[in-house]
Assembly symmetry: C2
Homo-oligomer: 456 residues x 2
Amino acid sequence: MTVQSAWTAQQSHIWPLTAARATDGMLTVGGCRADDLVAQFGSPLFVVDKADVLSQVRRYLDAYVNVADELAGDVFYAGKAFLSVGVARWLLEAGLNIDVCSEGELAIALAAGATGSQVLMHGNNKSEHELQLAVANRLRFVVVDSVIEISRLARAATAAGVTMNVLVRTTVGVEAHTHEFIMTAHEDQKFGFSVASGAALAAVKAVIAEPALHFAGLHSHIGSQIFDADGFVIAATRLSELAADIMNECGIAIENLNIGGGSGIAYVDSDDPQDIAEFGSTIRALVRESFTAAGLPLPHLLVEPGRSIIGRAGVTLYTVGTIKPVHIDEDRTRVYVSVDGGMSDNVRTALYDADYTTVVASRVVSADSSTTLARVVGKHCESGDIVVRDAMLPADISPGELLAVAATGAYCHSLASNYNHIIRPAVVAVSDGSPELLIRRETIGDILSRDAQAGE
Amino acid sequence: MTVQSAWTAQQSHIWPLTAARATDGMLTVGGCRADDLVAQFGSPLFVVDKADVLSQVRRYLDAYVNVADELAGDVFYAGKAFLSVGVARWLLEAGLNIDVCSEGELAIALAAGATGSQVLMHGNNKSEHELQLAVANRLRFVVVDSVIEISRLARAATAAGVTMNVLVRTTVGVEAHTHEFIMTAHEDQKFGFSVASGAALAAVKAVIAEPALHFAGLHSHIGSQIFDADGFVIAATRLSELAADIMNECGIAIENLNIGGGSGIAYVDSDDPQDIAEFGSTIRALVRESFTAAGLPLPHLLVEPGRSIIGRAGVTLYTVGTIKPVHIDEDRTRVYVSVDGGMSDNVRTALYDADYTTVVASRVVSADSSTTLARVVGKHCESGDIVVRDAMLPADISPGELLAVAATGAYCHSLASNYNHIIRPAVVAVSDGSPELLIRRETIGDILSRDAQAGE
């Protein structure tokens, strides 16, 4: 297959690294043609560019692990963004660890060959069973989130005769998103122990008091889809203050400082998230500065990227079904382009008012061709079933053409439903011209298999 | 099992008809104890009160079918709210028809024994295959939604040598919700043909022009969670005007007028949806008045309730896992009560900012006992994972207790995901002291079964 041109430079930060056009204009990712992929794996289809994932992994390793720095730590991939056995294998082989927050995510990580020492467990409400699994698999860290859980984990560890490494999840009163952050005294959210109220220090003491638990450090996650490190200035200061209190009152230094995830990606052209390397060096400088100023030894820095590793690598391919011009006022028409998926495979538009970028996958639309204001909608029986709110698409868009929606690698398949009994698409990895199935397409038989009265 | 008391009268409009308390205070639905149900089918659990569903069905039949009235028509249950083979069987046996909008929903209806004449098909983007299934099964009505679809359906019907009954979906410029409605000239949404722009009349003519299609009437759906019929005044007028145009230009009377669904239910105490009978008689009066005023014969009235049939019948049972007081300002504390499900089994709170009512299922909380401002949250790794935003729960709420969340019968299991690889709960029907499994609890094995590389 001949690749004619690299992707337009303008949008290269939105589309996967290997996105290109074949000589006939067909979108290719990982050297695989969109039409071939749909023919083989069905439509809609999630396509994951393995090269893009591995490139992001290398950036993270270079920013946080391969640094000549006492802060050098580890990267834990946030499995909630997207997790399959195949992807987990790539990440583990590349040197990442995995952050799980349920029995199911742990099962995937273990099926991919992870050892307990490569896994960290999160969650505000881990079940007794999940904590027992954490203990049985000797997970590297359990991030504790409530006083109840500290005793629960201590009991499970004691029963198994092991010592578990524990990070205490704190809330530092900073909430960051894109280029903004807000500071609060108290955070009204389910996660973490408040630093300001003293709950965090009390939780650390409770962990220290449990012989079966080893206090291994602090955790703080300040937001999602964050574009710069500004919010981390306050976070680092407050964490170093807490660290100083812990040193003063307990005589214990913070071994690990887990700054959570939240690094953003570009969904639309105007999105400009900071580069991973720059983000990492800023964070390291902030932590170094605040801990040094407080007279504390430097902790290992842990980070939990999810979206910023898998988000851009993912593209959804849809087939256009119907096209309908709708008068939105006397002078304007919006063309509703309906595709064969929708809020069942991407609920983010409805759930978070998220923006996406889409192009026709099946041909190159020249710059001087006529375009129209379009809205890409799904096939669900709900008016909020919108995939891409605003898109300029060719005026002659027609049924059967393929659309590609960018940056759907994170939180799309993860949040997928069977709304309207619509089956979930396959997820296929592409690399060097070869597709590799990660998750097979669902069938109506799969849905019926849970219906207890279907066979009667 | 002895039932001690009927449900508190105050909340009887929120909870299922048969909700009661056993002598020890345990919540019972359909004569089944919440604790027994959870022991048998797992937690979380969706419980569906069959008596409540059938009671709502009778109300609908009395309001729209069993009326001494030329408008007497049919009720089509909107399967998107919740559909399983068992529930579809109840409804079909009781005299309802089923509204489906996908191959999957049709498969469930057919598996329940529906004949094509009991099924109506919706959708803004039915696939060619779905239209072929509609034709092959001789569905009672196909509601067409675009010009493209009209020719597509005509081709499929012609190929099969049958004539299909078609309703034309219109948008009348009314959008209704609870007690409010707004009027617009043009509707910026994916569904329907605009009456105001002339698109609806043109679509009717396009249907009439197709020999394989029979123009069987009009469809209009003006909103969701509607509490009174005020919005239908304008809708009925505009539909009768369109009907008059159709009579004038095509000489054809409207056989069927499908007014869609959208009747609301009570999620919280202050919700006061109009009674089904009253709603029905108001609608009939409006249609009678507007069609008579226009000098037109009366159509059969079709209606598509979903939520108002299955919504109140459903209750979700959760087990409390962790409890955490969080300072939300200097003087106030919110208790975060984490349960073993969340946005994977009820995304409506996050998606629509929906309110819910919850009580402790495992005991009666006396009126004079101490309560606390609580937020019921799920176990997902997301701060927006909220089940019930504000609830007054007993101050001594503790892990292991069961919570019941009311009115989760519609759009909860339908929209359920495997976010965080958390399995979807079972759905169990209860009636006369016996549970009957409708949908079995998912397993991690189910999730792994789609992972193409899990077995390697």
